[in-house]
Symmetry: C2
Subunit: 275 residues, 2 copies
């Protein structure tokens, strides 16, 4: 597929939302799409990226193993390699995400659309599940995602739940919140539980104070959403956790996706479902 | 609880089978039990042990992450530590298994009941799920485990299914086989699928040749069992896989449990069930 540039270029790209993941990665690699990935290639898993030096890789891998709900590992690409061949054969993690961030000692240094220049031989790339998959399943089941209705980012909160530390990686769990009608809560638990590789079942519901959250109207990340009568706040472990934890460890160097600019994989959402 | 020694000492210990995991670990640590662990502390998870030097730990952890069915990781105890505090707070992996093996460059060097003398500061201990948990669930559901009826070891076969390599760890998957009545196969799948942390659902069934198994009567490990009319062989990923793979990599040094002499944890079987 070729992309015609021109006045209506942007519209054409958005019209191509239904195109498959390989098409999208191709466009992204060619520099023809550097925007958000939500809604692109529907039905396919999107992933968070965190790249760390080899010296920190064991501890970070162990951190993910110990905290599977906030850190659902989909794939690890070893040092010296750039192809996430389980998630997307032929892809290259240095070019196939629309936007990256480079952090040095925990400080954001650079945002860019290609990290081939930044790549080092000892970079280990971690791909982590994201909530798009279970949100799509909830929406298909007729359960409203309030932040999607509002056209905003999901609200996220730093909790008083500690993660299980590994080496220098430690810190609180971050959760995302979605208001759900009481009548739908049990079904929302069942549906999201089918996807343990993308955060799985909620970690808590109903009582923000029990998580140390003082005011739902003031999320730590993302945007607040209204909670209607007959609804309760439901909390899921959030993929911001591993990034927050990694940043806190202030590694000399860390590459991540820019928020919302995910890696579009060839894996179908249903491939991640347990039963 | 104290153990009276004497002529009927062994019987008394076996009568204590129903005792909890902490009692059993205490006896084992005290040298009062160095035998098999099958049937001890029923309802509690037992685990395989593999100890490798720090330099190989990232690759082995990644191998387990890539091959969760044969290598279901329950806990990793870092270098310098000896307490598997998630599986059994207060336990010490160097003393609390009834029998250990030391391998050097892939060769069995020593079998012993305590590895404190062998312990090194850079040992990383991996605890992996074992099939006892899902077998108990199948038996409780009225599904016969033929090898248990026969009083023998489960038959195990080296297959032509490759594991996903990581670093120097690679090799074929080993499976265990249990004959199941056709009428019970679907239920056996459902029940074992509830326990992904202990091998989960079968990897194959019905056609040994498709796995490269020539003769079910000649298992590579364990003992052959009869398959009756109306039954089909069902194959589960087997915890022998990681040991076989690790051995093949011929690490300078590796400590494991002796076959059948597992680590008895404080985790209940039901804690590992997904739904």
């Amino acid at each position: 597929m070729t992309i015609r540039q021109g006045r209506n270029g942007r519209r054409e790209i958005m019209n191509g939302a239904q195109d498959g993941p390989a098409h999208w990665r191709e466009r992204i690699r060619a520099g023809a799409h550097s925007g958000l990935t939500a809604g692109l290639a529907p039905g396919y898993v999107q992933a968070n990226l965190a790249v760390l030096p080899r010296a920190l890789a064991f501890d970070f891998l162990l951190f993910c193993q110990r905290n599977p709900k906030p850190c659902p590992l989909l794939e690890v690409v070893e040092a010296g390699k750039v192809e996430p061949r389980r998630l997307a054969p032929g892809a290259d993690w240095r070019t196939d995400l629309p936007r990256y961030r480079l952090y040095e000692h925990g400080q954001l240094c650079l945002e860019c659309t290609d990290v081939r220049e930044l790549w080092r031989e000892d970079d280990v790339a971690f791909f982590l599940g994201c909530s798009f998959t279970f949100e799509a399943a909830l929406v298909q089941a007729g359960i409203e995602m309030r932040h999607l209705s509002c056209g905003s980012n999901v609200p996220m909160y730093i909790t008083n739940l500690a993660t299980e530390a590994a080496g220098q990686f430690h810190g609180p769990m971050v959760v995302s919140m979605r208001p759900i009608a009481y009548a739908d809560v049990a079904r929302a638990v069942q549906i999201s539980a089918r996807y343990p590789a993308v955060h799985g079942a909620p970690v808590h519901l109903g009582d923000p104070a029990a998580l140390g959250i003082r005011d739902l109207a003031q999320p730590d990340f993302g945007d607040a959403v209204p909670i209607e009568k007959g609804e309760t706040p439901v909390f899921w472990a959030c993929g911001v956790t591993p990034q927050a934890v990694a940043m806190k460890a202030k590694p000399a160097r860390m590459i991540t996706h820019a928020p919302g600019h995910m890696f579009i994989t060839d894996r179908r959402d249903e491939e991640l479902a347990t039963a």
